[in-house]
């Protein structure tokens, strides 16, 4: 029976071609359809597949630390630089950017609609005790949100469970929860533009330079992780950073709006 089991597993495992690479990525890039747009173009040229695992930035970095990735594509610059500094990644390159926005219900209980000052808006939410839905999952967006609270001089964790609601789940699930309970939420613009369950929600805070959202790409270090397919992984990174890849990123639109802005050096 053991051999039968092993044979079955091998038969199934054999369906994975050897040159295919695994990218640990954020949910925002996957949910907004970026990979559906990019990968067919790249795969046709390269002749191998790019398999994307979309999780929060924190989990993506942990999975890559366990060597379960060839490439890391996330958006939390400090954590990315730490990953490289620890020798887990070879080097980090800027890939593209967009921005975060705060979305909220039409009723706007904290009266922040139209604001370009994130710190003031967050203080207004805290003072009004208006509901705020946080990712609470160590993702890039969550890290950004904590930075913004800290810059606003407010510690929302004391109100956790009261007006500050930590969902501990992905961006989409958090937006669904926020809209379900009438809470404000911080989200990247790409996820918001492609999100299908907006209800009466709209962007209430945008345009603050503090809301800048940089994405980076990293080759996982083959010295730490011998399983890394260096040539294929580097080939994908090189393509993303090339003129072809950068214009492909710029060409990805939803409803006539560009979601990501390439800025490789």
């Amino acid at each position: 029976m053991k051999t039968c089991f092993a044979a079955l597993l091998c038969a199934v495992a054999a369906t994975v071609a050897s040159a295919d690479i695994i990218v640990q990525s954020t949910t925002s890039t996957a949910n907004s359809g970026l990979y559906d747009h990019l990968l067919p173009q790249f795969e046709a040229e390269a002749g191998y597949k790019v398999n994307v695992v979309a999780v929060g930035t924190g989990q993506a970095i942990r999975n890559a630390t366990n060597c379960d990735a060839d490439v890391l594509l996330v958006h939390a610059k400090a954590s990315e630089e730490a990953f490289v500094a620890e020798g887990r990644g070879v080097s980090r390159a800027d890939l593209m950017y967009n921005d975060f926005v705060i979305v909220g219900p039409a009723a706007d209980p904290a009266g922040i609609a139209g604001s370009e000052d994130t710190e003031a808006a967050l203080r207004a939410i805290a003072e009004a005790g208006a509901l705020f839905a946080s990712r609470g999952d160590d993702s890039g967006t969550h890290k950004k949100e904590l930075q913004l609270w800290s810059a606003a001089g407010t510690d929302p964790s004391a109100a956790s469970g009261a007006w500050y609601r930590e969902t501990g789940s992905g961006m989409g699930a958090t937006l669904n929860a926020a809209i379900g309970m009438g809470a404000y939420a911080l989200t990247d613009r790409a996820t918001w533009l492609s999100f299908g369950n907006k209800g009466d929600y709209k962007v209430v805070v945008e345009g603050d330079p503090d809301l800048f959202n940089q994405y980076g790409v990293i080759l996982v270090n083959p010295e730490q992780c011998p399983s890394v397919k260096v040539d294929e992984a580097q080939g994908f990174i090189d393509w993303l950073l090339s003129d072809a890849g950068q214009s492909a990123i710029a060409a990805h639109q939803i409803g006539g709006k560009q979601l990501f802005f390439p800025n490789a050096n």
Binding site: M1, C4, F5, L8, L9, C10, V12, A13, T15, V16, I22, T27, N31, Y35, D36, K49, N51, V52, V53, A54, N63, T65, N66, C67, D68, G170, M171, G172, A173, L175, N176, S194, F195, G196, N197, K198, C225, S227
Partner: protein, 234 residues
Amino acid sequence: MGFGEAWGLALALVLEADRDLLEIVGLSLRVSLAATAIACLIGLPLGALLAATRFPGRGALLILVNALMGLPPVVVGLVVYLSLSRAGPLGFLGLLYTPAAMIIAQTVLITPITAALSRQVLETLHDEYDPQFRSFGLTRRQTIGALLIDGRFALATVALAGFGRAIAEVGAVMIVGGNIDHLTRVMTTAIALETSKGDLALALALGIVLLALALTVNAAVYGLRAGAMRAAHA
């Protein structure tokens, strides 16, 4: 957005035989049927053994197997992830983020179900036939074989219970499969993905298709079972 839209979408998906949908449905069936088959190979003989034998510690083992029926899929996923991760003991196999990893996770999840339920079903049968087994002087192995053959119709229901749990779970396959498009995306992870994109009508439509799939498998087993029972009693 509502149930009406979801039913319409579900119908359209099925009628158009959408290629992506067929791929996802196919993988769901392949993974969950394989897991059910392996879980039955392990669980049914184990259940029969537990039903037919008495030994010290049996009570504790029964409690353990019954308790394991309540294993949360996400915990199973985590344990299998840690085992199959490149940093884990079985990392050299390179199975993480493949359908094989999903089969392993679902097998771990449902083997206790097949073992515990078959023990329950076969113990009743064993109590009934025990005098006859004794009079034939059957060995333990022969007794287990006889129980599995005599109980086959009830065991089909046990297998279905395991299959139902496997095809419906999302926590384990999400972690060990990674929900990779065209590689490890199954019905439940696709539903979770569409929900997170806020496309609730499509998510619900996929849920309706999943339910139809489960109905079809159950109806097929029911039909086979009825046919086999008629043949057995003819």
